[in-house]
Symmetry: C2
Subunit: 236 residues, 2 copies
């Protein structure tokens, strides 16, 4: 079996299923699953790979990478619902509607674990430490979802973009001598899609941020020189 | 003690603390808390009462009513983050920042239970059935938060308003012979605030919906005659 179809009827993309070992030592999820001998699968997504979930009960855990969750209506209109990064989860409950379905798109390479929701609940039943870990995770998810909501709540596109860059710096940032490096190959088109704008506006605002030395670009990736200054400049 | 201050420094409003018994028979939360003799408080909010939570670790459970969650920045700018109805929870984790705090505003009378987060986690430790109940609740919350995100994701104010009315009909609607009655005294100003618009636009769109017989108004409350038709008219 070389392909992993999340929904046989609607799947847009075939997702290669590669067993990835490199994160298994450091992910608390995998530690729990291995301890409990719980059946799960690990696979990787390339940039722009899409997973569809509309009527399954599988929990997906992101080991690495960055993805956007979209609701897709029958008329093909798509709404961005959330931005997911490492340790986030999605698809954890039953969805059943003929009017819409959900999909996630990898905006950079990503590694994901999938596990049946029934398996998760059975681990919760037998392993109290996991229940508490899962509750803590879900509480954290609700805060992260609020953070994404904040981005969209801004009326100004510049404020939305700055807010998104700050969120990405928290979740995907690597601290280095000249600031926080966003280790994420994300195009202006995708940034526009996330904040409900267009590529031309994103390119203009990014150029202004570069000119005012708040950010710089290194090998197509963003460096935020001083996240506190950037935040103060726009939100104080 | 006649007043309940959620934050001694910032509290805008004094919230009368009345022990309310009428929901205790039907709320699974109260059943669990009573079973476990867990210390908790029940109090009621009037329309426009505000609770502030910026550095506490209390979980609030809504027994009845409808509230909006806002993030308030130091410059007093407010962002609406979520709309909460019966059985929803808020304030369940630590917040500590000098730049912002959170508040909830009752948009109609509401009844709320407060319980220390540490008490919740201790019930989880000792009472497995509660852990599973709490996990199911948190999973449901994430879906509900997505529904609110959808409202804000629409660019058209009409679509936002229709989407909000449909969400309210699901959570606060009472089925009656001529449609779904929104049992909620919610002003056009508050509707405008929730969807990021102004009172004049809301009044105009509501009048259009009344003229096209999609909704009608009864004692200042909305009746949606056919939610499926309303949804199809705007989102298909």
């Amino acid at each position: 079996m070389n392909n992993h179809y999340l929904n046989q009827e609607c799947s847009f993309e075939k997702v290669p299923k590669n067993i990835v070992k490199k994160n298994s030592c450091c992910s608390p999820w995998l530690n729990f699953f291995n301890q409990q001998s719980a059946e799960h699968q690990i696979f990787s997504l390339k940039q722009h790979d899409v997973l569809i979930f509309d009527a399954n009960s599988t929990l997906y855990i992101i080991l690495a990478g960055c993805l956007i969750v979209k609701k897709v209506f029958r008329n093909r209109k798509k709404i961005i619902l959330n931005l997911l990064t490492s340790e986030d989860t999605f698809g954890h409950t039953q969805f059943a509607s003929s009017h819409f379905y959900y999909e996630v798109e990898a905006i950079d390479v990503a590694q994901i674990v999938s596990i049946e929701y029934s398996t998760i609940m059975s681990i919760c039943q037998n392993h109290h430490k996991f229940s508490v870990f899962f509750i803590d995770h879900l509480l954290l998810c609700s805060i992260k979802a609020n953070r994404f909501m904040e981005i969209i709540s801004h009326k100004s596109i510049t404020n939305r973009l700055v807010s998104l860059l700050l969120l990405l710096s928290e979740h995907n940032g690597i601290s280095q001598s000249n600031g926080i490096f966003l280790n994420l190959a994300i195009t202006h088109r995708v940034l526009a899609q996330i904040i409900g704008s267009n590529r031309v506006s994103i390119t203009r605002i990014m150029s202004e941020l570069v000119q005012t030395k708040l950010i710089s670009i290194q090998k197509k990736k963003v460096i935020i020189h001083d996240p506190i200054l950037l935040s103060q400049r726009f939100f104080k």
